[in-house]
Symmetry: C2
């Protein structure tokens, strides 16, 4: 697959909940490689969220090489100056698949947000490259990114901290390690702030494969939770102070198991399984 | 001015820092009325951020009527269900000027975010209506909205809390009561999270008048502070914990007095005075 073979439209987006299987079936990583062109895939790894980017970058590069892709590159940089260097961003020029590792999404975004590397990644995605991100790399995809927060099942006002993310998806607030770290409360809180957005909580070793047409599929060993506040009638989030619980009325929380296909996961239509009709 | 008289492009955006003069010269409110069509202006007031929307709505409606506009409407509603009623949103159908009052931006956004009222306001703006907002109404304009935070001159990690805002501006993070409430630190912190955005801090009784072409003018009795992190080299915001101060290197903080004209306030170009050329 070369640049000119990419479809003239947005690529697949694959938020992964962290801790994806790297040794056994590799269901998620295989899907990423396949959607990036299989044996013709040209993968660029962005390990900048990690505490040890060199080590983490090597790990994924070795993995993808072993899986038989055409080429693997890795973006390493120390500061925003380097993130603005054309030579650095050029490593994305031919990418048909881009993979963001885990770590700390604030580290990643404060390092590359607004730089050439971020804009090149976005433009490759808009031109058809597949973008996957695991853990912090999944969170960073959101325009309205969950920067950090607290665990718990019940929403409360200060449970979640937003920051501006990389904007690969405008509509979805992505959360990860979802069931393992008990993050239902913080995702509901996030959506309550502005129910114009849809919350997507991805469990570990699980991915949501979002197609360019807005349809989506759950793969891996866990589940994906969708928090939809568009029909929410009421919240008192503005009047509750600090860590006290908030009230939310009419928020829709759905959990989808592996293999589930969603007909649509965009703000334009209700979240629905292909076999269910709404409205 | 009727709908068909509106220019086929985005309108003027007027974030106001709160406490604008309502009795003496009314410099800011007059400019809003003028940009909305003067004697032909059709104003719609959105007082939903206020603690007492009925009272606050009446206050501004009386003010604008007194200033001789063609018509004034006021949107009053109690819940998101009403914010989705076509009859409510219809009050924006003919608006040439939309005014959002102060109060609590989280209250406003959690009430109308993603509803018909919000999308109608955005579409009127895209078609040329002037949108002004004071205090909370100014903050709510941002796509990445400052929900709340703490005062102080020095940036620190948990100083600012974002939430998804109404999105009248994608590029600017608007803050208000800026000098009066000592908010330099929180705006610098906000920009450090993702330097792809520009921070705009507006003092009380001051407004930034942003023209459709991206040029801008400071009016009123105070100043506007612009925090530009696009050339920021480094921040440790990801590694600093809680309320400890963060390091930011190369962030550009500029203050502009009343009467200043800026050639451009978009991400596409450096922030510049018309008479200064940049590299």
């Amino acid at each position: 697959m070369t640049i000119s073979d990419l479809p003239p439209r947005q690529g697949y987006l694959m938020p992964i909940g962290g801790a994806e299987d790297k040794k056994a079936q590799r269901v998620i990583l295989k899907r990423f490689v396949q959607l990036s062109g299989g044996a013709n895939a040209r993968i660029t790894v962005i390990p900048l969220a990690s505490e040890s980017p060199a080590e983490r970058g090597r790990q994924y590069c070795d993995l993808f090489s072993e899986m038989g892709v055409q080429s693997v590159d890795c973006i390493q940089l120390r500061n925003r100056y380097e993130a603005n260097m054309p030579a650095t961003a050029a490593l994305l020029d031919n990418a048909t698949g881009i993979f963001m590792t885990g770590g700390d999404q604030v580290k990643l975004v404060s390092l590359i947000g607004g730089t050439l590397v971020a804009s090149k990644m976005l433009s490759r995605f808009k031109k058809g490259a597949t973008v996957a991100g695991t853990s912090a790399g999944a969170s960073a995809m959101s325009l309205h990114m969950i920067a950090f927060g607290r665990s718990g099942a019940k929403p409360s006002q200060r449970m979640v901290q937003f920051a501006p993310g990389l904007g690969l998806t405008d509509d979805l607030i992505i959360d990860q390690h979802f069931r393992q770290r008990d993050r239902t409360g913080r995702l509901m809180t996030a959506v309550a702030f502005n129910p114009a957005l849809i919350g997507v909580g991805v469990d570990e070793d699980t991915a949501l494969v979002i197609a360019p047409d807005g349809s989506a599929e759950v793969i891996g060993s866990g589940t994906v939770t969708v928090v939809d506040g568009r029909n929410m009638e009421y919240t008192d989030i503005h009047s509750v102070k600090r860590h006290y619980p908030i009230t939310v009325l009419g928020m829709n929380v759905q959990t989808f198991g592996s293999g589930t296909k969603l007909a649509s996961l965009t703000l334009d239509e209700p979240v629905a399984l292909p076999s269910l009709k709404f409205g």
